[in-house]
């Protein structure tokens, strides 16, 4: 049966590692009646939670890929996009967020708002995603939901309002008091028992309900009046909370313990009650046919009869071939619908259209605006927009960060090499932050990504899914080079070795460019260099910036200004001017005081305060700069900026320093200048490498 758009929800579940996100997803699937046995993330039965569809995720107890899973609750269809929990996979998170209309932010009732909660919350904020909070693990020793609510307010600036208060905590956690219906809700196995509020909680329940009414009444005059006239109904509260949530001005807070099966059903009710349906979310596309000076942004309509516009947000290589997950923003698609890939212009026909459940797939006749589905046999890259051929729209692209680390990989034999090529092709399509190329000098295959763990996971997947035992080199940091002062060039390229000669002279200067990687400015007047050779000069410089003269890494932040030159009627050519520009760039580059830049990571370490000294020391040892340390009772967090090149092996060191009690996250922050001693060492290594290659 087709679901109307009002009864659809596309949600994500976001959290810090180990907040119980996967267990929560698992329980949601269970209570929605789709799976009948509940597995733990690190299950003794060796099966693992259903959402983690890859073996590797099962082993590591983390979720890597975002599988979209469809469930039903209270006559609503909820599509759950399981977002990865590790910062190394941020692109996956960002891509999932693009297709979400709402999210559940899961917090541990002890750990509360942790470093990564802040990261995922910032991402949700960037994509304007309304959210509910679920305070999980209320059965843990030290559980304190009220404190976590306060943290949501203080640290994340949420207008967080409790929808429930706990009945018992730690070992005694049995259920919650629902502050809307003012009933006790006890969760006993699969059953829910509603009853009177226990006498010792009545006073607190009334107090918290008043807080809730105060917060909710900001979004509804009707509710305000009803409060004054003492005729508040549950419907009025729901409507006001919903309005506040969708406007992202209110965060309803639920609580329970996914592991102990407490609070899940109430959370599901909250999802359908307060999170928006797809028609309530504004989605914007770019009209490619708009004239350059006209506004190109168009708001998509959730009308199923409008021309279809959809986004391929996830590719998966399954046992039945390539599966492309799509989100439909406008119109409808059916088997046979003709679509055009906005990037490649390629036309495709919709073949098999399916809906993914946690453990099986269902063939569906059509999918309409707002829905999430999957297509078989479509050749595309992740992030591609498909539209009706008459409709020249693209969905605004997802921000893709540049990779910061690379690794040489090689296959043991020729057959494995073919499989490796297949794997690399697949991964780079799936994940835009995963890049691969063959180094023209060393002829090695290089993979690039966002961190050590990010690449580790792909190396593992090569072994498991493609049966390639790859050998890997030492991880290499993606250094950059940059100039620090202006330098002039005047270079003549001249060759006369029989036959046609080569001649080109270029004059101009290089200067540092603050915002941007490369810019070419042509100021040549009076045809001193014929117009057709200007692009040749640009091309020559572009070749030069690919490999800087200090350690052979790409040059960033440089403006090339061409002011004058000379040509020869017969001997000047495209090649001659390319060579001249290349030579000129190198000539000026050496004079422009080039420096080496390295990726600097923002590192957060969290753990018991007793290890603070060890953590400070470990960061200092790695050329890190400690920005701040925050101590809250026995728990502390250290934020630091550390060069990526120094972060290899940090997880092992941290584990041994803190008896495994501290954890860290890191993400790319900026490119920073390397200190002189390190620069010298890098130059030495580069010289040795060149000597080996040439000698």
């Amino acid at each position: 049966m087709a679901t109307t758009i009002e009864r659809m929800r596309n949600i994500g579940i976001s959290a810090h590692i180990d907040s119980g996100k996967t267990t929560l997803s698992e329980r949601i699937l269970y209570y929605c009646g789709k799976i009948h046995r509940v597995h733990e993330v690190k299950g003794k039965d060796g099966v693992g939670a259903t959402m983690d569809s890859m073996d590797l995720e099962r082993e590591r107890g983390i979720t890597i890929a975002s599988a979209a899973t469809s469930v039903s609750w209270a006559e609503h269809r909820i599509n759950i996009i399981d977002t990865p929990g590790h910062v190394d996979f941020t692109i996956e998170v960002e891509r999932s967020l693009r297709v979400l209309d709402g999210a559940v932010l899961v917090l541990c009732s002890v750990g509360g708002v942790q470093s990564q909660t802040i990261t995922v919350d910032r991402q949700l904020r960037r994509y304007d995603v309304p959210r509910l909070a679920f305070i999980n693990k209320c059965d843990r020793v030290g559980a304190n939901p009220q404190k976590i609510r306060d943290q949501l307010e203080e640290k994340l600036k949420h207008n967080a309002v409790l929808m429930q208060i706990p009945i018992g905590l730690e070992d005694h956690h049995q259920g919650v008091v629902d502050l809307v219906s003012m009933q006790a809700v006890l969760f006993e196995g699969d059953e829910i028992r509603r009853g009177e509020i226990p006498p010792d909680l009545r006073e607190e329940a009334h107090r918290r309900r008043n807080d809730l009414l105060d917060a909710a009444s900001m979004f509804s005059d009707e509710l305000t009046e009803a409060i004054l006239e003492d005729r508040v109904t549950e419907e009025l509260i729901h409507a006001a909370v919903r309005r506040g949530t969708i406007a992202r001005k209110l965060t309803p807070v639920f609580m329970g313990s996914a592991y102990k099966n407490k609070g899940i059903q109430a959370l599901l009710d909250g999802i359908v009650r307060y999170l928006p349906d797809p028609s309530e979310v504004k989605n914007i596309a770019v009209d490619q046919s708009a004239p350059p000076d006209a506004p190109a942004e168009v708001v998509l309509s959730s009308d199923p009869d409008a021309p279809p516009v959809l986004l391929a947000f996830k590719l998966e290589d399954g046992p039945y071939g390539q599966l492309t997950y799509i989100r439909i923003y406008q119109g409808r698609i059916q088997k046979g619908t003709e679509l055009q890939n906005a990037r490649s212009g390629q036309r495709i026909k919709v073949g098999r259209l399916i809906r993914m459940h946690a453990d099986h797939m269902e063939d569906i006749p059509e999918a309409t605006a707002g829905d999430i589905a999957a297509l078989f046999g479509i050749d595309c890259a992740s992030g591609d927009t498909f539209t009706d051929p008459s409709c020249p729209y693209t969905l605004t692209s997802i921000f893709v960060p540049e990779p910061v680390i690379s690794l040489a990989v090689s296959a043991p034999d020729k057959r494995a090499l073919d499989r490796l090529a297949k794997a690399l092709n697949r991964f780079s399509k799936e994940d835009p932050t995963f890049r691969t190329f063959v180094d023209p000098e060393s002829h090695e295959t290089i993979i690039q990504g966002m961190g050590e763990l990010h690449l580790d996971v792909y190396v593992e997947r090569m072994k498991r899914e493609y049966n390639v035992e790859v050998a890997t080199g030492k991880p290499q940091v993606a250094y950059r080079e940059a100039i620090t002062k202006k330098a002039e060039f005047d270079y003549t390229h001249k060759k006369q070795t029989g036959g046609a000669g080569q001649y080109g002279r270029v004059i101009g200067y290089l200067e540092p460019l603050a915002d941007g990687a490369y810019e070419f400015v042509n100021q040549v007047k009076g045809g001193r260099i014929p117009r057709e050779f200007i692009p040749s000069c640009d091309k020559g410089c572009k070749t030069a910036v690919k490999k800087g003269g200090v350690i052979g890494f790409p040059v960033t932040g440089v403006r090339v200004v061409l002011t004058d030159g000379q040509y020869h009627e017969v001997d000047s050519s495209d090649n001659a001017f390319q060579a001249a520009a290349l030579g000129a760039f190198r000539q000026a580059y050496a004079k422009a005081k080039p420096v080496i830049l390295e990726p600097v990571m923002k590192v957060s370490v969290e753990g018991p305060s007793e290890f603070a000294g060890a953590v400070f020391g470990s960061i200092n040892q790695r050329r890190g700069v400690i920005v701040s340390s925050i101590e809250d009772g026995s728990f502390s967090r250290v934020d630091a900026e550390v060069p990526l090149s120094e972060m290899f092996g940090y997880s092992n060191q941290l584990r041994s320093l803190t008896q495994g009690k501290a954890e860290f996250t890191m993400e790319f922050l900026k490119y920073g200048r390397v200190p002189a001693a390190v620069a010298e060492e890098l130059q030495k290594q580069h010289a040795e490498k060149r000597a080996r290659e040439t000698g």
């Binding site: 920005v627 101590e631 009772g633 934020d639």
Partner: protein
């Protein structure tokens, strides 16, 4: 102007000269005023001056959030850049800020012993060679009698100077004693080397030296806290 000239010309030299070099290594200084007069701005200006000299500073806070303190530093730095037309300011800021660490403690239940342990971990474990420790928002009302002794002992052992801020409240009686010492700080006066009070006047904040080691205090200084820029400035 470059950083070297800026240090030389800083109005903070007046403060130093009027207090025999400030608290000095192993010494404690306190900046006291009612809430909202500008203690944090003053402390951040003092810290920034140290950073300009290439010295390392630990900024301890009890109440404020870390990003709030970072903003203080950025704002004060921006004002200094504007006032002194500092060249190449972004590079200078990136360079000096590496020598600052912010340590935030929730005071509820956070005892002086624990704070000092963490500070020591930063200085010795983290090899952070601090010159000055700024302690903003310390609650002198809740301080145990020997707390300041422990800070003093720590300052001596680590060879650092410590600057506190003290928030003064009217508690029915007088805020200041006859010699200008705030009543709140009277029990600790013997342990404080330099004591300065801030007083809001109509157009600026007056800075008064109430205690200067064992020397007679200089009284009201010819420098002011400008309420517009929140910088300490020479009197016009």
């Amino acid at each position: 102007m470059d950083a070297k000239h800026l240090i030389k010309r800083s109005p903070l030299r007046v403060l130093e000269d009027s207090t025999h070099g400030g608290p000095g290594p192993g010494g404690l200084a306190v900046l006291a005023s009612p809430k909202g007069v500008g203690k944090t701005a003053c402390l951040v200006h003092i810290a920034t001056d140290k950073l300009f000299q290439g010295k390392a500073v630990i900024h301890v806070s009890y109440s404020s959030r870390v990003d709030y303190i970072m903003t203080w530093y950025e704002d004060i730095f921006k004002e200094i850049v504007k006032t002194h037309r500092l060249r190449d300011s972004e590079t200078v800021y990136d360079e000096i800020i590496k020598n600052r660490v912010i340590m935030n403690f929730k005071q509820d239940g956070m005892r002086t012993g624990q704070v000092l342990r963490s500070l020591e971990a930063m200085i010795t474990g983290g090899k952070f060679d601090a010159d000055t420790i700024i302690v903003d928002g310390y609650n002198f009302g809740l301080a145990a009698p020997d707390d300041l002794d422990r800070f003093k002992d720590f300052a001596r052992r680590m060879n650092v100077s410590i600057w506190f801020s003290a928030s003064l409240k009217e508690t029915g009686g007088e805020m200041f004693g006859p010699d200008g010492t705030p009543v709140l700080l009277a029990p600790h006066a013997g342990r404080i080397d330099v004591l300065i009070t801030l007083e809001a006047k109509s157009d600026a904040v007056e800075i008064r030296v109430v205690k200067d080691h064992d020397n007679p205090p200089a009284g009201v200084l010819p420098i002011r806290l400008d309420p517009r820029t929140l910088l300490i400035a020479q009197e016009k």
